[in-house]
């Protein structure tokens, strides 16, 4: 039907995909550099993404005794030697000025006095206190950035999902997007395209992330031939809400939030941390704690709600007070879900581990350029900065530094270049393919069912503990879901206005593609390091594996994985 192939077009020097902090900062910097800018986000709120979900803690070397060099060393140590040190250098050096720079967008930092920021406790892995928690848990700067976007003549396209990057002569020249609100298609033409689509938490059944983070950017980048790196490196968080359904998996705390007296028990009443970290017990790192919690539950020793038990009763009252004031929002939910007694740490409570952050992503250089001309990547969707494991508080530092940096560079690139128009037949073909996939109403699987299946298997087999046979099974299951998706996925309701099924139908193939890249990378790395732990290769092997795993599209269209020498 001819009406299916219509689309409107929009051109801008710089087109940015994403609606979190990285996207917003990139947009503002590009605009400042004189580029015309369009920003496309799946959500309705600006700024959202993962940024609004954060506790707002931003690590940087603010204090006198500290230094960018020390900060760099800490990041590299946590990263297990797999970080790209050049990217880390930029963040270590640029962290403090980037945080202070936020104020220019119409925002006030949380100050202790005129010249000092409020810094909270030492985080694990940091040589000095670095965590600037601004007591608003990201709400303050998210909304300030959102208003700055509205103030600065940036074209904002909300509740729109990009279905595909458009390529001409080996260069990314735009993007095809689908509007959730109207059901219409918009083809964007750009000189520079910035991927700022965030992480992939929504691939997991249990995640601290919002449902929007379906890993679209990784799949899109792979599709146009870009290289991705460290796709096996996932960070898990140890203590999260187990109920109700909308809270399940959402971020609560790490052990150290409760002080050194905290104890973890399984459903049989056993204190199990000695089996996982005999030296530090509960005061271990978050990834070991998450793994321990995962194993206890997986091996059948969870409570009847499938959780472990946190006992905070032995605590210093000052620490409880700090918990209440530094993360008031989380605290309010904590009180609500568990009740008064638990809120005052007078009773133990149930908790579960959950996916939290993704270290891997689209490989970038120091200018956030991917391996494909015209395509940049920034924030959680990019890979290389965090290596095998992310140091706490550095995800925000990363976007505060690289967001403005990529915006400026993308704008400069655009100034020098011509706008290359995409091929209309390409767009029409892609629209046909998308419409064909869902518009007929035949087929038995609604997108959410396929999402559920993906999320369960990814949690089970690409979670805190991996193993060869399970991962190979995961590949087979993902391929099977892919077939079901192409043959059976259908949108039950045919209306075009705000039809969530249609957006989810676009997300499903992205999720499958991204999960396959992850599992292929995880299969290749036969050792354990950082966020990647294998029960069949539980030790770190620096002889063989002090290398990065890189994946890209091969000639046949399948993923090609290889181990590559590190960047020095």
């Amino acid at each position: 039907m001819s009406s299916r192939r219509t689309f409107t077009t929009h051109s801008a020097d710089v087109v940015i995909l994403g609606g979190g902090g990285a996207a917003a900062l990139a947009a503002l910097a590009a605009r400042e550099s004189g580029a015309t800018v369009a920003l496309i986000t799946k959500e309705s709120s600006l700024v959202g993404g993962a940024t609004i979900m954060s506790a707002g803690g931003t690590s940087a070397p603010y204090t006198e005794k500290d230094s960018p060099d020390t900060f760099l060393a800490d990041i590299l140590k946590t990263g297990g030697g797999l970080n790209n040190p050049r990217l880390v250098r930029i963040v270590a050096d640029g962290g403090v000025p980037a945080v202070l720079n936020l104020e220019k967008y119409g925002y006030l930092l949380d100050r202790k006095d005129a010249n000092t920021l409020r810094t909270i406790k030492q985080g694990e892995g940091h040589a000095y206190p670095r965590g600037m928690l601004d007591r608003r848990e990201a709400l303050g700067f998210c909304h300030a950035l959102g208003r700055a976007l509205m103030r600065n003549d940036i074209r904002l396209f909300t509740e729109m999902i990009v279905a595909r990057l458009l390529v001409k002569d080996g260069r990314v020249v735009g993007a095809l997007a689908f509007s959730l609100v109207t059901g219409d298609y918009v083809a964007f033409s750009a000189k520079s395209v910035i991927l700022a689509t965030g992480g992939l938490g929504a691939l997991y059944k249990l995640t601290t992330n919002s449902a929007i983070l379906t890993g679209d950017g990784y799949a899109m980048a792979f599709d146009v031939g870009a290289e991705l790196i460290d796709m096996e490196m996932v960070q898990f968080f140890p203590i999260n809400f187990p109920y109700p359904p909308t809270r399940k998996g959402k971020m609560l705390a790490v052990c150290s939030h409760f002080g050194s007296g905290v104890k973890l028990y399984n459903g049989l009443g056993e204190r199990y941390m000695a089996n996982y970290d005999p030296e530090r017990l509960e005061f271990t790192t978050r990834d070991i704690a998450a793994r321990a919690n995962f194993m206890e539950i997986k091996q059948g020793r969870g409570t009847k709600n499938g959780a472990i038990i946190v006992d905070p009763r032995d605590h210093d009252p000052n620490i409880l007070q700090r918990f209440k004031t530094s993360v008031p929002h989380i605290y309010a939910m904590f009180r609500e879900v568990y009740g008064e007694k638990v809120a005052e740490w007078q009773e133990p409570f149930e908790a579960i581990p959950s996916q939290h952050f993704f270290m891997g992503g689209v490989r970038i250089d120091e200018e956030c350029k991917t391996t494909i001309p015209g395509l940049f990547a920034v924030g959680e969707v990019s890979g290389g900065m965090h290596g095998a494991n992310r140091l706490s508080g550095t995800a925000l530092t990363e976007i505060f530094v690289f967001g403005p940096l990529v915006g400026k560079i993308a704008a400069l690139d655009a100034r020098g270049g011509d706008l290359i128009p995409f091929d209309r037949p390409d767009v029409e073909r892609e629209i046909d393919r998308l419409e064909e996939g869902v518009a007929h109403g035949r087929g038995s699987a609604r997108p959410f069912e396929l999402k559920d299946a993906i999320q369960s298997l990814v949690w089970d087999k690409l979670g805190p503990v991996r193993e060869e046979a399970e991962m190979k099974e995961a590949v087979a299951q993902l391929e099977s879901i892919r077939r079901t998706a192409s043959e059976q996925m259908a949108v039950r309701d045919q209306s075009r206005t705000y039809n969530r099924d249609r957006m989810e139908a676009i997300e499903v193939p992205f999720m499958i593609a991204t999960a396959l890249l992850m599992v292929r990378s995880a299969l290749l790395r036969e050792e354990s390091r950082g966020g990647h732990y294998r029960s069949d290769f539980p030790l770190q092997d620096d002889n063989k594996w002090l290398r990065n795993v890189v994946v890209m599209k091969g000639r046949s269209g399948d993923a090609v994985v290889e181990a590559r020498e590190r960047v020095r």
């Binding site: 709120s45 119409g106 100050r111 202790k112 709400l139 300030a144």
Partner: protein
């Protein structure tokens, strides 16, 4: 427990009249309205449109009205009988989905000076710790728009009054040296239009009374 939901349906595309659809389901007492909406969308009504994102009472996207009272769907515990409507006083796109963009743009329309470029000429503008504290409080807003939908003055004159959210933005910006100048022409008129009825404060999901604080901040500026 048994739950009965009457949900507002309106689809401009189909041309059908607005109506309520009734759903009966089983639920656990700790479940939220969002849990129920998602279940209905999955199991019974694929065409039901509603918003959500974070699931942790932060992004403000899931605001709806339950039994006449605005609330965040991911926060509100279910009741045995619920009439679920979109937020009142704001344009409806479909079913429970309101036009948030228009609501924010409206504030800029009424207060165009807020769109003025900020004065960043002085590189470092320090504020007192008290100001920083107050600013932190005022910026805890989720931008859920429930206050706009509850305000009777905004309901009567949406073209003239920026509403509680507009006043909150004015209050925030009045504390920031970079934007104080932009706020000044609007503060007086806004304070005059506000009747101090407190309806906005009553529905605000923030744990602190930030809308009351906003009015106080503007009065004391």
């Amino acid at each position: 427990m048994n739950v009965k939901c009457d949900i507002y349906r309106f689809d401009p595309e189909s041309g059908a009249k607005e109506r309520y659809e009734t759903y009966l389901l089983e639920a656990e007492p700790l479940e939220t309205v969002l849990d129920i909406l998602i279940r209905i969308y999955r199991n019974s009504q694929p065409s039901l449109s509603f918003r959500f994102a974070c699931g942790v009472v932060k992004c403000g996207e899931c605001a709806v009205t339950v039994n006449g009272i605005p609330c965040l769907a991911c926060d509100k515990k279910i009741e045995p009988e619920m009439k679920i409507d979109p937020l009142p006083q704001l344009p409806v796109i479909k079913d429970l989905v309101i036009d948030r963009r228009k609501a924010f743009e409206q504030i800029f329309k009424i207060l165009p000076e807020l769109a003025r470029k900020l004065d960043t000429s002085r590189r470092w503008q320090s504020v007192t710790p008290e100001t920083a504290d107050r600013y932190v409080q005022l910026t805890r807003c989720f931008e859920c728009l429930m206050c706009q939908s509850a305000c009777p003055v905004f309901g009567m004159m949406p073209e003239k009054f920026a509403g509680p959210l507009g006043m909150l933005w004015l209050a925030q910006m009045s504390l920031d040296p970079k934007s104080q100048a932009a706020v000044e022409p609007y503060a007086g008129p806004a304070l005059e239009m506000c009747t101090r009825c407190g309806a906005c404060s009553d529905v605000c999901p923030c744990s602190e009374k930030i809308l009351d604080l906003a009015i106080e901040t503007l009065e004391k500026r």
